[in-house]
Structure formats: structure tokens, C-alpha cells
Amino acid sequence: MIASTKKQASTQADKNLLAIADVSHFKRFGVKGAKAAEWLSGQGIALPESNNSWLETSSATLVMRLGSSEFMIESQAAENLPTLSNSDQFATPGVYKVPRADAAFIISGQQALNLLSELCTLDLVGESLSENKLLMTQIAGISAILLKQSINGKDAYRIWCDGTYGHYLWETLLEIAMELGGGAFEFDAQAF
């Protein structure tokens, strides 16, 4: 979605200080309804037990529980996601497809918390993001989902927001990242 990623990546940027990546192209899928949990379990997908929490499956798929009966599932590979066509919705009462057109970003590096502290009113240093918790809050004034994940042993912060805000949030993140000595990088699961 963000075409300027490569162009704006600075050769001066230090990935260890602060790296931001646009991962809006990851595949994601939303499902909600009274029987959503049952349906996902039937697809062989492990589910977080409590609201506002997440887990990562063995196939590196993120499963987020956004409410008692609403889920978002994301993976780099489409084959890891279940499919629910529009016709299936009528054949499976209590299970509804939620189209997701989120913009998604990953932030990592020593300055990641400093960047987020400029954009988010919550104190993220404490326990708020521990134990696979996710937050639904405002970042840079827009509603977003935020969680902390370990990628290659390093803390990384994942952000999702409505896709129509994607360009704004990317520009905001990038501006602060560059001020802090970081910049934009392409996401590589092995080396990010």
C-alpha cells in the first residue's frame, strides 16, 4: 500500500535504533458471530481464551481475539488462513465474515517505545502489553490495535488501523522514526 517505503528508506537509518515496516500486504481475515469461535476451532485454529488477547500458531499465524465473539487472523501466507465465502455465511448461522482492509505496521528497535510514547497516551512500559495482551486504543489520534510480539528474539510492536488512515499513520511514524535515527525497512521475518 505504501509505495514510498523503498524511496524513503534512508541509508543513514539504523535498523537497531528504530525500524518501521509496512506489512499491510499480509493476508488477514475477520470473523464474528455467536458461533465464530466454534467455527474457527473446527478449522483447527487455536484461539486465545480471553478478550483483547492474541496467540501465534505453529504456522506463524496471529490469532487475535477482539471481543468475546470477534476474531482477526493474519498470516504472511494466504494458505494459513481459513476461507469463508459469502455463500458460506448463509449456510453457517452465527458465523459472519468481516472484511479487513487494515493498514498494518511493525515497529522494532531500541527507540520503538520512544516513538510510541509520542503517539499514544498509554504507558506501554508497564504490564499493559504483557502476556499476549492487545490494546485497542488511539495512536496518533486514530483508532488502532496494538500488540507486542517477539520477532527473532527482539521486541516488535504491531499496529493495525483502518486502511484509509494508512498513509497518514505511515507518514507520521516515518517522520518520528527518522528524527530518532531510524527509518523504513522492508519486513523480513528472518532478519527484521
Partner: protein, 90 residues
């Protein structure tokens, strides 16, 4: 910074919330008189005091009830509709 406690997501800046108006019990449309229905639809009691209000936590899409003293702007408690026993205070 003013704070409000969402029953699901915890204490957040009030800027994350949207006011949804006073919570009022709806009379049974099949039994209410025209005068009672008109009062429900059109009349509002703006006298200061403790009111039940609808509030919406925008990032998570959570509607809940806040009991707020509109004279002092003190929020006494917040809870999901029908779940006052699990109430919480700010």
C-alpha cells in the same frame, strides 16, 4: 487529561470516547399513550444531577453506561448494559 474507564478496556483518555446521550428506559410502544411516547421521544431532563449516560469507546466499539454527576462532572461508575453487578469506578 480527563479519564474514563471502559468496562472492557480499562482507564483511557476521554478523547477515546464518544458521548451517546442520556440513557432512558423506553416505554412499551404498544402500551404507551401518545403523551408518554412524545415525552420519551422529545423531552429531556437537563436538570443537573446524577445521570445514566451512553458512552462509546471508539477504538474497540464498546457501548456502555456511565453514571455521571453532570453538576460536578464526576463519573461514579461505568458498566456494560445489564451488568451493573460488575461495575467499576474511575
Amino acid at each position: 487529561m480527563k479519564l474514563l474507564k471502559c468496562p472492557i478496556n480499562g482507564v483511557r483518555p476521554v478523547s477515546e470516547f464518544i458521548f451517546g446521550g442520556e440513557f432512558r428506559e423506553m416505554p412499551d410502544p404498544s402500551k404507551a399513550t401518545d403523551a408518554e411516547w412524545a415525552a420519551y421521544v422529545f423531552y429531556r431532563d437537563n436538570a443537573p444531577g446524577i445521570k445514566k449516560e451512553w458512552w462509546f469507546h471508539s477504538p474497540s466499539g464498546t457501548w456502555f453506561i456511565a453514571e455521571r454527576n453532570t453538576a460536578t462532572d464526576e463519573v461514579l461508575t461505568t458498566y456494560l448494559l445489564g451488568k451493573k453487578q460488575a461495575e467499576s469506578t474511575v
